[in-house]
């Protein structure tokens, strides 16, 4: 088994679309928004387009329906014009025989209704299908983000504001969805209309068509100028929304502390600062992008005036017929409208792309080292070996250096030492929450770095001090580590870990919903629940991290018993602060400053009169000082 030196940064082979440098790490506390980079804008737009075109057949169908619908809509007025001609002819013939040819007129009008109905069906069908494409794409995007979260290294999640990540999934994805839904079909329709009208203009008069054509580069130039500025503002707007979400999330999570420590005013001041920044950028973004439409309309009108004047002069000089000028003016009006519409839709899209950029930024964040190795279904013995392990969170401060020890199957390994000695880090390494800098950890002869993470973790049960339970029933929470568990199994686990007893006193029993911070279940009971959860998961290896601390002594006795039941026939790592609870451990590792300074059983270590003995003496002979 060769074991290459693993450095967290160097071995990264994951990050599918690269551009890791864009990850603005450590942004957490900065109130000011970093200098905006909008060079990714086009990329993001392209990527968004790619995402949508995953449903290429539907997209093509929608496009064709839009083309057909536009063709019908454009031809509608012409048919009506034809109907008018029939009336006009009828008037001319008034003095003659028949007057208006009503049969023909009604046929034409019925045809017009047919055309409008067809265009109605197509337009509705197209929008209906588009809604499906957009929502499915958004579904995929949200799903991608969720899976991404499970591939991110813990350090990324610890470093980033939770509320900001949430904002990307809710606010940003929502914004993309609304932008696409609102603008996409109109954008396509307008573009097609522009094309169609332009074609007609060239047929009527190439020279005036060229005059009209000057509008396009002029419009694009103006739009580009404004868009470039508003784009940066849109990006800021959604960044500030994320920051604000982060602040709100944190303030509400720590709501009680904020109140009791009288920090409401300060929190509100920080809120106001970000809220004002958000207002300013949102205001500029909306103003700038909103100006695109009148600006385009203005250019369109300039063109209209130019055609009226040039056309007028040409008729006056006799080089063009009045009818042609009139038709032309009509077309140029028709031309301006889709132009301004396209412009304003581009503007809506901009905001969406700004959000997309934030979503892609998250999706492109550096991931944990990819899985290597294949799962092995062999029964786990539970032997764990630390072989010359070195690790640090921060390269400047080595934490664990050259640590080696072996935990034999079925034994209990207690880890003691002062806070900050690296006990929890040890657990993080066994769980492979972090990658080693040097050395290897071997489970039953296999390097854990060469095992799929899921395989490794499914062999390990963990009871942490943080009693994290999710919003759901007690039953679901116990079954968390073993979703296929039967009711009997759940109940058995609950009985073995003394959960059953208090669950029975709850009105809803196992269906009691644990939510938020309500007082239905106390801290100690939550702790018991996490033990039951680990019990049901039935792992070969057990990690108990400071798990018996915040409960009353009677519950603690229960927890000790529960833990005892849990530890049977399993390799257990116990991190305990009270030496009394670990005296029967098979090996006790005494850690100081990331290194093991002593190893042995309780009796041996006491006899050695070293660090353990000192710790033991300090705990059991320390004068009990009371708060008087």
């Amino acid at each position: 088994m060769n074991e290459p030196k693993r450095m967290n940064k160097e071995d990264q082979t994951t990050s599918p679309v690269g551009n890791v440098s864009e990850l603005r790490a450590g942004r957490m506390n900065t109130v000011g928004v970093p200098a905006e980079k909008s060079k990714n804008f086009l990329q993001s737009a392209k990527r968004l387009t790619r995402l949508i075109s995953d449903e290429s057949i539907l997209v093509i169908l929608i496009f064709l329906m839009a083309v057909a619908s536009v063709a019908l809509v454009v031809s509608g007025p012409r048919i009506l014009g034809h109907a008018t001609d029939i009336v006009f002819q009828g008037l001319l013939n008034r003095d003659g025989t028949d007057g208006i040819d009503f049969a023909r007129l009604h046929r034409t009008l019925a045809f017009a209704i047919g055309v409008y109905t067809a265009s109605y069906v197509l337009a509705y069908g197209q929008a209906f299908l588009l809604a499906g494409v957009v929502q499915r794409t958004m579904f995929k995007l949200r799903q991608d983000i969720e899976s991404k979260i499970h591939r991110l290294p813990l350090s990324y999640i610890d470093r980033h504001s939770r509320g900001d990540l949430l904002s990307r999934v809710t606010n940003d994805v929502d914004n993309i969805s609304q932008s696409l839904q609102q603008s996409l079909s109109q954008l396509v329709t307008s573009m097609l209309t522009i094309f169609g009208v332009l074609l007609m203009m060239f047929i009527v008069s190439p020279i005036l068509a060229l005059v009209a054509l000057t509008v396009i580069p002029l419009t694009l130039l103006t739009m580009g100028q404004i868009a470039q500025r508003s784009r940066a503002k849109f990006i800021s707007q959604w960044r500030y929304t994320g920051q604000l979400n982060g602040l709100i999330e944190e303030a509400f999570t720590g709501h009680a502390i904020v109140k009791v420590f009288g920090r409401q005013q300060e929190v509100e001041e920080r809120f106001t600062t970000i809220n004002n920044e958000l207002f300013e950028t949102a205001n500029s973004a909306q103003f700038m992008s909103g100006s695109i439409q009148p600006a385009t309309m203005f250019i369109g009108n300039l063109n209209y005036v130019a055609i009226a004047v040039i056309g007028g002069l040409r008729v006056a000089s006799g080089s063009m017929s009045l009818g042609d000028v009139q038709a032309f003016i009509q077309y140029s009006r028709q031309f301006t409208h889709p132009m301004t519409q396209a412009a304003s839709m581009m503007n809506v899209l901009q905001s969406g792309v700004a959000s997309a950029e934030r979503v892609f930024e998250l999706l492109d964040a550096e991931e944990q080292i990819t899985e290597s190795g294949v799962a092995d279904s062999a029964v786990t013995q539970g032997q764990i070996e630390f072989d010359n392990v070195s690790f640090s969170y921060d390269p400047q401060r080595p934490l664990i250096t050259n640590l080696s020890f072996i935990a034999e199957p079925g034994t209990t390994v207690a880890i003691v030492g002062p806070t900050g000695a690296g006990k929890t880090t040890l657990v993080n390494l066994v769980m492979r929450f972090y990658e080693l800098n040097e050395g290897r950890i071997v489970l039953d002869g296999r390097n854990i770095a060469e095992m799929p993470r899921s395989e490794l973790r499914s062999k390990i049960g963990m009871v942490l001090q943080d009693t994290w339970l999710f919003n759901g029933t007690i039953r679901e929470n116990i079954a968390y580590g073993n979703p296929d568990a039967t009711d009997e199994q759940i109940r058995a686990a609950a009985k073995a870990t003394f959960v059953d007893r208090f669950v029975h006193s709850l009105p809803d029993g196992y269906d009691t919903i644990l939510s938020g911070d309500d007082g239905a279940v106390s801290a100690g009971e939550k702790q018991l629940l996490t033990i039951a959860r680990a019990f049901l998961a039935d792992p070969a290896i057990l990690i108990l991290d400071e798990a018996t601390s915040s409960v009353d002594t009677r519950t603690e006795v229960l927890i000790q018993k529960a833990m005892g039941a849990l530890r049977q026939k399993r390799t257990s790592f116990v991190i305990a602060h009270r030496l009394s609870t670990i005296q029967d451990a098979d090996i006790i590792l005494v850690m100081e400053n990331g290194a093991i300074v002593e190893t042995g059983s309780h009796v041996e270590l006491l006899a050695a009169r070293g660090a353990y003995d000192r710790l033991y003496q300090s705990q059991f002979t320390a004068p009990v000082i009371d708060l008087v």
């Binding site: 506390n29 009506l80 008018t84 009336v87 208006i100 009008l109 409008y116 109605y120 509705y124 929008a127 588009l130 809604a131 499906g132 929502q135 969720e146 979260i149 610890d158 504001s161 939770r162 949430l166 606010n171 709100i248 999330e249 944190e250 509400f252 999570t253 709501h255 009680a256 502390i257 109140k259 009791v260 009288g262 809220n275 004002n276 205001n283 909103g290 600006a295 007028g312 002069l313 006056a316 900050g420 929890t424 769980m431 929450f433 899921s454 499914s458 919003n471 979703p483 938020g516 106390s522 801290a523 601390s549 915040s550 002594t553 602060h577 300090s618 320390a622 004068p623 708060l627 008087v628």
Partner: protein, 578 residues
């Protein structure tokens, strides 16, 4: 709901809105004027070959369009200002309101939903205001202008408009009516997405440890599917709007030609007016389309406004007294008099008939089994909840009569779950005291036995703390939370099982260092180990929310069987002498 919210929050910006209305009116009239000018160029300029006239009217057209663009841009400027200010103010009002809530109201809404309401819901209403200002306000002018001009052409045909417009309106109204419940569900489902993701992020270690990623994915997928489905239903209803509106107006045009031709044949109407009528009908079509655009975003905004109003109209169950009584003493005492507390609708009270009195310099320890109401008791003193009956008195003053800020300035709370905020060690300590000096910080850290590890962290006082304090160990987090309370030098300390994650020697050192600092304060300490609380002046033994014993260690061993039982169980377990 929506109108009420708009009325209230837009009031300060009504002058801006008036400007927008006037500018949009003039702007749309200018838009209507252009074709008239053009007609003049054709009628007089071209037909009479008057080049000067063409140039002159051309210039006038240029001027008109210039005025139009300037007014439009100005209207957008003021419109976006008003709507974004509306958003800002509403967010601010919501945040302020939630800050005034007690823990009960926060739990009632749930943090994820409150977060959605402040950002996402406000965004929906804000968009409605913006669209109204930039698009919709021009619509009535265009529509009315078009209508007047159309009526001038032929009153008899106007029945078509009289039918068409209400028809469009009622169809749009029906769709909107159907969309509202859809979007009501939609916002709740966005809450759910927020909730699941927030849970995953905060419990990421457990999720990974139990290899629950596949199941979490499924759980999220379910919520995601729900959102997507609802959004799809909304989107599909929405896609009905534009084509339907367009269709009705187009059919009206056909009707105009149909019936118009009859009138022409009968000699009641001329061809010119009919063509003009059609043109103006097209104008009306445009404004109907704008109204449709608004109708499309209205339902979601209406639902969001409901949700916003719901928060704004909820008052805190911990009301602020209108005429607060000041506390004059610097050494206060604390008394609970017949205090009851129960959650609304709960079968039995969490606390029942609790009475005790603690003077400055004294310590009251609270012991009792898990779930006996200890934390609730501390929360009542900190006024995170109000007692259902009975009173908490500081210095003889009922705390409901005291300004909350004053009350809290006297309290140092160390909660069971020591929540730290993202920032630095010093920013967290400044939570306790905003203007704390570095010396004060080190003093507090020293007493809390946190100085040595803080000194070793990169940056020491400026070392980064992740949200919730996830980058330090449980014991370190607890000591930082203790230091945060100590730095306040409060008159009342509330330690809620605050030493649980400490090893015994650190615990002992901390208590030794702490004792001199408590001599002027009332100290309430929830404890689990008899050994650490036996010398408290009073020990309150709680069981199922009832006081089963109150006295000192020796007294209780004699008089309180529950206490004696705890003592014995611990003696057995710890193996030391008590």
């Amino acid at each position: 709901m929506l109108l009420h919210l708009l009325q209230e929050k837009l009031r300060p910006y009504r002058h801006l809105l008036w400007i927008v209305v006037v500018f949009q009116a003039v702007q749309s009239l200018a838009g209507l004027y252009l074709p008239t000018l053009n007609a003049r160029i054709i009628d007089r300029g071209i037909t009479q070959g008057d080049t000067n006239f063409i140039w002159r009217v051309g210039g006038l057209m240029l001027l008109t369009t210039l005025v139009q663009v300037l007014l439009s841009i100005a209207a957008i400027y003021f419109g976006s200002r008003a709507s974004m200010a509306f958003g800002r103010d509403t967010r601010s009002a919501l945040f302020h309101q939630v800050n005034s809530f007690s823990s009960r109201e926060v739990a009632h809404f749930g943090a994820p939903s409150l977060i959605t309401r402040i950002t996402n819901d406000v965004q929906q209403v804000q968009m409605l205001v913006l669209t109204t200002c930039t698009l919709l306000l021009a619509a009535p002018f265009t529509a009315i202008g078009g209508l007047v001009l159309a009526l001038q052409q032929d009153v008899n045909l106007s029945w078509i408009i009289v039918i068409a417009i209400p028809l469009v309106m009622s169809i749009l109204g029906t769709v909107v009516y159907k969309m509202v419940p859809t979007f009501r569900v939609m916002q709740v489902r966005i809450d759910r997405i927020n909730e699941i993701l927030r849970e995953q992020l905060s419990g990421i270690r457990v999720v990974r440890a139990f290899v629950r990623e596949p199941q979490e994915k499924v759980r999220f997928q379910q919520a995601n599917q729900d959102v997507a489905q609802t959004a799809l239903r909304g989107g599909r209803l929405m896609s009905l709007m534009f084509p339907t509106a367009t269709f009705i107006v187009n059919v009206s045009c056909v009707a105009v030609v149909w019936f118009g031709s009859n009138r022409i044949a009968a000699g009641q109407m001329k061809l010119g007016p009919m063509v003009a009528f059609l043109t103006y009908l097209a104008q009306i079509l445009m404004s109907v389309m704008m109204a449709t655009f608004m109708a499309a975003i209205w339902p979601r905004a209406a639902v969001s406004a409901e949700r916003i109003q719901e928060v704004l109209s909820t008052t805190s169950s911990v009301p602020i007294p209108t005429h607060p009584t000041p506390i004059t003493q610097t050494r206060v005492d604390l008394e609970l008099r017949n205090v009851d507390f129960e959650y609304p609708g709960a079968a039995s009270p969490v606390l029942h008939n609790i009475s005790f009195k603690v003077s400055a310099g004294e310590t009251l320890a609270i012991i009792g089994s898990t779930g006996s109401g200890k934390t609730t008791l501390l929360n009542l003193v900190a006024r995170l909840f109000d007692a259902t009956s009975g009173a908490v008195l500081i210095d003889g003053v009922d705390i409901t009569e005291v300004a909350p800020a004053e009350l809290w300035s006297r309290i140092g709370l160390v909660p069971q779950k020591p929540y730290l905020f993202s920032g630095t060690v010093s920013s967290n300590l400044r939570y306790g005291k905003q203007d704390a000096t570095e010396q004060e910080m080190w003093n507090a850290l020293t007493i809390a036995q946190a100085d040595s590890f803080v000194r070793e962290m990169p940056g020491a006082l400026e070392a980064v703390i992740a949200q919730g304090g996830t980058n330090v160990s449980g014991g370190q987090r607890q000591r930082l939370a203790i230091a945060r309370a100590l730095i306040r030098q409060p008159e009342i300390y509330l330690f809620d099982d605050s030493f649980s994650a400490l090893d015994l020697s650190t615990d002992a050192k901390l208590r030794a260092a702490l004792t001199p600092h408590l001599k002027d304060s009332v100290t309430l300490i929830v404890g689990q180990r008899v050994s650490t609380i036996r010398h408290a002046n009073q020990i309150l033994v709680l069981e199922d929310g009832l006081v089963v014993g109150l006295g000192n260690h020796e007294e209780l061993r004699q008089s309180c069987p529950t206490y004696e039982e705890i003592v014995l169980s611990q003696a057995l377990q710890e193996g030391d002498d008590l």
